[in-house]
Subunit: 344 residues, 2 copies
């Protein structure tokens, strides 16, 4: 652990990483042969391949994927752009994606748009600069510019979460508008009339907005009205759901409160319990997403399963299929599932 030349005081930058050439020199073969061995080509005689592998291991050789990709036109990086990570939903989608990609040797490069379409455009530009083999995106609302970049880039793209779209290339998701409508049918079937809605900042989250629109339209078709929605211009959270529920209860007790998602709904349940109300006898509550925690509550939450794990899995699968020359469907609706629960 002495000088070695690298480890330049502050930088600790790696100059002097072992290269193909060094392995080749030490093994007494040409660079291309080492390259073939490292990529498992059957063109190299087994004995030679063994020797080369031994030398490579000895030298701790790690192939430079940058150079390899530049020369060979075959990146194994996949750009992944999500609107947030504070909500467990996207973390689970990302988990599903990472697992599916990693299993086939692909690596995600991550960007978080914060539900900001402009920032999303910047992310698209900079991630495309890495020449990824493909791109998976849960849109924050593609700008025309973003759309143009993606179209021009001509690489496999999966737009995830929403199936009510006309995808640039492929889509995997559910119908959020349909999910809202399904919740409306559920509420109508249960006979509720005085229905309130609590949500976070829907102006940025267009999928939550679609659910809300579907809910309102569905209720309208059944002749029920939705009380004016209560929205707070901040990200969704348990605490927010709790707080806003208390506010509503302070002036009026609706028959049911629909929350924009499970996080908020769980906060709502806590607020109702705190107010001494029995659920669903005194007041009903519904959420969206089917978080595990909502189902573990003493009274499992009425909600809609968005099958996000399946979305991540399928997105990875379709992307890889396309990369391997297959022709996966350009439009996949994984279908949501209404979970009746015990809170409505």
């Amino acid at each position: 652990m002495t000088q070695r030349g690298n480890d330049s005081a502050s930088g600790r930058r790696a100059r002097g990483r072992t290269t193909l050439r060094q392995v080749a020199g030490r093994a007494g073969v040409s660079e291309i042969t080492v390259s073939r061995v490292m990529r498992g080509s059957p063109l190299v005689a087994p004995a030679l391949a063994g020797r080369v592998r031994r030398v490579a291991a000895e030298l701790g050789y790690v192939p430079n994927r940058l150079a390899g990709t530049l020369a060979g036109h075959a990146s194994t990086q996949i750009a992944v752009i999500l609107p947030a990570l504070s909500n467990i939903v996207f973390a689970e989608v990302l988990k599903g994606l990472e697992t599916g990609l990693e299993a086939r040797g692909y690596h995600p490069i991550l960007g978080i748009s914060n539900y900001d379409a402009e920032h999303e455009a910047d992310l698209i530009r900079s991630l495309l600069g890495w020449q990824p083999a493909g791109l998976v995106i849960a849109t924050a609302g593609l700008t025309p510019q973003s759309r143009a970049m993606l179209t021009d880039a001509a690489l496999p793209i999966v737009e995830i979460m929403d199936s009510d779209i006309d995808p640039i290339d492929m889509s995997v998701g559910i119908s959020h508008r349909g999910a809202g409508a399904a919740m409306a049918r559920h509420l109508v079937a249960r006979g509720y009339r005085d229905i309130a809605f609590i949500g976070h900042d829907l102006s940025r989250d267009h999928r939550a907005r679609a659910r809300f629109a579907g809910l309102r339209a569905g209720l309208g078709r059944a002749g029920r009205a939705l009380a004016p929605a209560r929205l707070r211009l901040c990200p969704s959270s348990v605490a927010l759901g709790c707080d806003m529920t208390r506010q509503i209860l302070a002036r009026h007790r609706p028959q049911v409160i629909c929350f924009a998602n499970d996080d908020m709904a769980i906060g709502g349940v806590f607020a109702c319990i705190g107010a001494g109300l029995a659920i669903p006898r005194d007041i009903a509550v519904t959420g969206f997403n089917r978080l595990d925690i909502g189902q573990a509550m003493p009274a499992p939450l009425t909600t809609i399963d968005t099958r996000r794990h399946e979305i991540g899995r399928l997105a990875a699968r379709h992307l890889i299929a396309r990369l391997e020359g297959d022709d996966p469907p350009s439009h996949s609706d994984v279908g949501f599932v209404v979970i009746p629960g015990a809170t409505s």
Copy 2:
């Protein structure tokens, strides 16, 4: 769609992306000048720079970062390896990291080890192949091989979450053993004697194991014993906490149950409520991590804030500092905070 090579039916691979040369040709300047303009070099005359920028925009030119990095030795990718993403804790750390990195033009390449040290080693190897500028890792238990690769790689490395380690390069975290001991002091101060512990698979999660060891040791020092721990060899979850709590309650009611983390503790709270027990009168409950949801419950959970957001932020900050030639501390303990709550 004639020859052009690109958009080959299935592949949709981009051959024919605009290159520096094309921009240079169209603008009537040399490649290097375009390169300078794209990187904002002051060496180019403003008028010329403007013209070049216009041409680049017209052609939708996106610099190829692979080539740039290969030629210039300055990647802006940062390898990030985490043990899981199912738990919101790591998702939040990742969010903090991404934000900090993105703001300075760096992009995370993600790997999830699933608490598997062997897989972690594979991830390290393959991510290092991208010649990242730095690496952030929440260890799943570095194998000697992993350690060697990281040492040899000679790039800035931040080991996050745990501060009770001798870092390869830098560390940012808290003392998990200390946190366990702090919880022990809290319990002793409250006068509890009959203390149970419920956890998930600690064999793989060495930080949870350290907390447990700290708790047990702390209680031991105070002359209290911990009932034999109940562990289930599966990942932690709300449902698991709920289930295991029911099992314990079926045969005996301890004064307090310590859970390996908040998720499990929340499940425990639900189980106790379901069993008609009042918290903390009939039974106390403690968690770990200080999840928002635990604090939003009618009785805020007694827990320990692990300051994970701060960990992510600081890890990004120190990494970037190092990359920019500064000399950040090699060892940062962000400190945990005991949150007394109302469940103990």
